[in-house]
């Protein structure tokens, strides 16, 4: 099970203004505090931050709500964060702050790109991540066969994904964070 946090209503509850824009660092801090409270009060291993209906996202707010949240969550073993509802208008800010901190995050998507890795990534990591969304659980050989890669190349990509909390891995097997 995945914990879903709908950011637009949370933003409206946090602020007294009628706007749906995630702007300013202080807004980001207030939102992140609420998200952290919600995460600590739930038993789920994966949290989905849903950006649907969020208007503008600026760099400072993205730094607090995405980058700093990931840094906090990475201190806890076995907790994962995925994003959804991310549009083109949010991408610049999210990519920028993640790159600045050397972080990555998985984004669910219905568009032509589908699920993808935002922030720091490589072509192999992106390809492996998207393949795993299609293939489901498996091991390095399965991924290698599907992508016509060597097992070593597939294993490297899987290790990078696992270290960045973009997939769940255990005992040589892996599975995507969000199973269909």
């Amino acid at each position: 099970m995945m914990q879903r946090i709908d950011l637009a209503p949370m933003l409206r509850e946090t602020l007294t203004t009628p706007y749906s824009d995630m702007v300013t660092r202080s807004t980001g801090v207030a939102l992140r505090n609420r998200i952290e409270d919600a995460i600590s009060g739930a038993s789920h291993r994966t949290t989905q931050l849903d950006f649907t209906a969020v208007g503008l996202l600026d760099f400072s707010c993205a730094d607090e709500v995405v980058a700093k949240l990931l840094l906090r969550v990475f201190d806890e073993e076995d907790h994962f964060v995925v994003l959804s509802g991310v549009t083109d208008s949010h991408l610049d800010a999210i990519d920028h702050v993640l790159e600045r901190h050397g972080l990555s995050v998985a984004a669910l998507g219905d568009g032509p790109l589908g699920a993808r890795v935002l922030g720091v990534t490589t072509p192999d990591v992106q390809t492996a991540f998207q393949a795993i969304q299609r293939l489901g659980a498996g091991d390095a050989k399965r991924l290698a066969d599907a992508l016509h890669w060597t097992v070593e190349r597939a294993a490297d990509a899987l290790q990078s994904l696992a270290l960045r909390r973009l997939i769940q891995a255990a005992g040589g097997t892996y599975r995507p964070l969000m199973l269909p």
Binding site: R25, L56, F59, S60, D92
Partner: protein
Amino acid sequence: MRIITVPHSLDDKTLDILAQGIGDWPPGEGLLFDARASQWASPYGLTAMLSLGQALAEARLPTPRFTVPEKDEVKSYWSRAGFFHAAAECFELVGKVPKRTSDPPSDVLLPVTPIRAAEDVHHVVGRIQERAQRILAAELNLAPKATVGFAMALSEACQNVVEHAGTGGWVAVQSYNWRKRLGRKVVVIAVSDSGIGFRRSLEPTEAKKVGDRWGDGAALELALLQNVSRFRDPGRGQGLAGIRRYLGRWQGKISVRSGTARLAVVPSWDDDDPLAEYLPFFPGSQVQITIPAQEADAP
């Protein structure tokens, strides 16, 4: 009372003339700013004028006087751009000011607006988006993605006031035709505050590292070019970095004046000096972001 003539055209270049007229800071006597012959002011000029009035008030100096332009069309324009409404807070206005009854002029995307807290940034961003999208797309040939970046740049520029100035400031956004300078339309964001400035903001953490070269220019270079912030948090300093990234993509320009220096990231279409030092002192910080209309084959 000393009389200081406001330049006929008040903008980022002629502000230095105004600053020269003020002389040493804080001034030792009451000031009267004579704008009777004024013909025009950019958003940068109007917001800088307001933060000067605010700085004089915060220095507990006598309320400065400001004689309004004589030309009706100039007065009317400044009134509709929100200048006199704001100026009444920090100047004693001399002369008849038109009532601010009509909408802002069509080229004013955001009239002069105070920035004092994070909520003000929300209001500015929320208020400008629809109008900005329409004007940026229709008149400046900017792609939808560029209009998003524009609002982000505006948000970050305003936040700098809230986060770093230690006092309030003013923002205004306007589009106009730079026929002589560029031959194209531009949209300009101007943000000015009367706060502590970049040098004092960074001094506790950076002055010793820089050594003899420390000053307004060095502080601007650290903040604008190296994303240095007074906060140790590694996520800080991203606002100006994000603005530069956006401007790099759309051939925009940013110019920041603080204290006695002005630093600009200059695109190929402009010939401004990247760094000007030893300028006459002007209180606070003044930021100008300029985005030109895109050529038809722009990205």
